[in-house]
Amino acid sequence: MKTGLPLLLLVLAAAPAPAESAPRPEAERAAVLVAVPAGTYAPLLRQRDEPAEVSVAPFLLEARPVTNAEFLAFVTAHPRWRRSRVGPLFADRGYLAHWAGELELGPGAPADAPVVRVSWFAARAFAAARGRRLPTTAEWERAAAAGFAGPDGAKEPGFQAALLAWLTRPTPAVLPAAGSGRPNHLGLRDLHGLVWEWVDDFGTAMTTGESRADTGLERNLFCGAGAAGARDLTDYPAFMRTGLRSSLRGSYTVPNLGFRCAQSLPASPPSAEP
């Protein structure tokens, strides 16, 4: 019986996750960083005393989502993040459940497809092992606002429509390769149209506290209440991203939720980190 084990593992996993061994160089090579210049982000929903726009310092963002092969290399090097070892506080029962085995991808998880069914904790540990971090909501949204041809996708005919077309199709059983999508104006691929992506501060999507009753804004965005205080009522994809983020908890794993890593620019000390 291993009844006593989960508790012990839990304690182990609770420790911060430093690099336990050097990441595999081949996995590193693939994760090209793209420079995202300084810009602004207009949150979809905000409290009355919050600014309409926040400025986003320049930063680096990986060109595509993290793949199954890269995540396999990570769990191989960091056994505590394997399926059998991760504690329930840090990943729910769906964690990497589409892999054929503990260290085997199998037909449901092609090596070059984006890794999904990973918790926020696992995604953060992966990024830390790589010496990087998850992007913030503001950073991710600022990068994803770029269109194919110019800096503002909202101004490109069909950009929003293409987004909605993806949003209204069910998730395929086996995901296509990460990085196969059309690059946006900044050279980033698959921010839209492949999988949802974790952001570091997903929990701030709409809530100001743990209890729903004492928040000024509705965490759940139900019915007309979801429209109160919104920036742009016609930006349905933004509502859906915000909705998805606010439905999550750090231990959740979702079959169409992956992530990519970001890195601060050391050369810009004034506003590199909030």
Partner: protein, 502 residues
């Protein structure tokens, strides 16, 4: 943990608890109801699992005369299904179908509600049941990420027929994708017994393509915002209640329809052609509030219960009597009633004769004579080859005029088209093969890959705004020019194809 999924363990516990419960006390109803009102004592109630049905079926009436703890388990699935012939749509559903599963409980029941969001779902969902008294009607407690499950409980305080729907932002989109259904809270003493009960819901779909445009259609938020729906249908698809799928009844039976409108925007003028609602429980309440009703208005997010006795056999047509929705957008269903005729109530057609509206007998005689002479003249003209040829020539010239305004820019004045881009009409095997297809191409446009005289083309021809006569003329011209000898097209042909392909 991994070997024994948590929900299964919970279910086992729940079953075990139910098994060890003492039999419910033969207490008076009032006492038990009071217990149901207080959550700590809900454990004393007998437990049953709600039987859910797909439209148009309705779960059987509740026969027990005491409250129960009713477990409802509803699964959200995003599925691609038929919206109309040749048209598919990604429906977001409660239970795999539009409308969602019908839920039937009794006033005073304590409902334990489980909402499961399937792992393949793209987005999180929740449920707002209008039968729930509490914030968001349950939405606040049921917000569920893909591949997760939520549970909340409520007491069904108010009897009536209630809409439920997903209330996740953007909520018009979730509802427009099909996320609605009905929950019936039967009053303590039940509704009067009827012979048949059916479940029908109206909702509209905002497809990117026009009504009838084939293929998998996306949701169009701009059309939703403007409330311009290409589809307004009953039970989630055009034709879901016609032909083999029509509702059935027999003469002498009383039929009850549980009718709701999911919306998200459009109010229904609900009407059954050929019937009068004997009783309407207005707005889905529990009082038989009105009798002998022709059309009852049902708002988006609202419902009604209508009863009617079938007196004579035939097909009764359910419509939204805002009739463009029925005629052009799909809001049609059928109820087929079998049984003996009753000519005292309805005779069928008894007289069919010519009616000529002049006042005097002399005028009538003159009109008859004129009509006969006109027919004789047309026959004489048709029999004269010279006039027939002239008529055909006039048609060709008229057709040429249309061609040189509407067609020549792409197909060229010589009918040769543009190699690889616009297919030829001259000696075209594609044209010769199917006259109706050619008519349809002019009326409705043509897109996608085709092969003409062995060469592939993949372009888009827009629909042409031409009258039946113009269409017939231009096609006849095309089919008899540049060496073509493919016969002719009549205005009647065009009219038929136009109505076949609404």
């Amino acid at each position: 943990m991994k070997n024994q999924p948590l929900p299964r363990r919970l279910a086992a516990l729940l079953l075990a608890a139910a098994g060890f419960l003492p039999a419910p006390l033969p207490a008076s109803e009032g006492t038990v109801l009071a217990a149901a009102g207080r959550a700590p004592l809900a454990a004393d109630l007998p437990v049953e699992v709600a039987l859910l049905t797909e439209a148009p079926a309705v779960p059987p009436p509740i026969t027990r005369r005491h409250p129960a703890k009713v477990v409802v388990r509803l699964e959200v699935r995003e599925v691609v299904k038929r919206l109309a012939d040749g048209v598919e749509y990604t429906f977001w559903t409660f239970g795999g179908n539009v409308p969602g599963s019908f839920i039937r409980v009794r006033e005073g029941d304590f409902v334990e509600f489980h909402l499961d969001n399937h792992p393949t779902s793209k987005v999180p969902h929740n449920i707002d049941l209008h039968a729930v008294t509490g914030p968001g009607g349950g939405a606040a407690s049921s917000f569920t990420a893909p591949g997760h499950s939520s549970q909340f409980s409520f007491t069904a305080l108010n009897p009536g027929l209630f809409v439920y729907h997903c209330a996740t932002a953007p909520v018009p989109m979730h509802i427009a994708n099909g996320m609605y259904g009905l929950i019936l809270v039967e009053p303590k003493d039940g509704f009067p017994k009827v012979d048949r009960e059916y479940y029908v819901m109206q909702g509209e779909f905002y497809t990117a393509g026009r009504h009838g445009e084939p293929g998998l259609q996306s949701f169009d938020p701009a059309k939703a915002e403007d409330e311009r729906a290409p589809y307004i249908v009953f039970n989630g698809a055009v034709g879901s209640l016609v032909g083999d799928r029509a509702l059935q009844a027999k003469v002498g039976e009383t039929v009850r329809l549980y009718f709701g409108v999911g919306g998200p925007n459009i109010t229904s003028s609900f009407h059954v052609i050929g019937e009068i609602f004997d009783t309407v429980y207005l707005e889905g309440g529990v009082h038989a509030a009105q009798r002998h009703v022709q059309t009852t208005m049902v708002p988006s997010g609202g419902s009604t219960i209508v009863d009617f006795r079938i007196d004579v056999p035939g097909t009764y047509v359910l419509v939204d009597h805002s009739l463009s929705r029925a005629f052009n957008k799909g809001a049609i269903g059928m109820l087929k009633a079998a049984g003996p005729e009753n000519p005292l109530i309805y005779s069928g057609k008894e007289v069919d004769e010519v009616y000529i509206g002049q006042a005097s007998d002399a005028g009538v005689a003159a009109s008859k004579r004129e009509a006969e002479l006109t027919i004789a003249k047309d026959k004489a003209i048709a029999a004269n080859p010279e006039i027939a040829n002239l008529t055909a020539e006039i048609r060709l010239e008229r057709g040429k005029k249309v061609f040189l305004t509407s067609c020549f820019a792409c197909h060229m004045a010589n009918g040769e088209g543009l190699p690889g881009v616009f297919p030829p009409l001259a000696k075209s095997d594609f044209l010769a093969a199917d006259k109706d297809r050619a008519i349809k191409a002019v009326l409705k446009g043509l897109s996608g890959p085709i092969t003409v005289n062995g060469k592939p083309y993949n372009n888009l021809m827009p629909p042409q705004d031409l009258s039946d006569d113009q269409t017939a003329d231009v096609l006849t011209y095309v089919m008899n020019s540049w060496g073509n000898a493919m016969g002719s097209v009549s205005a009647a042909d065009v009219k038929r194809v136009r109505s076949d392909n609404k």
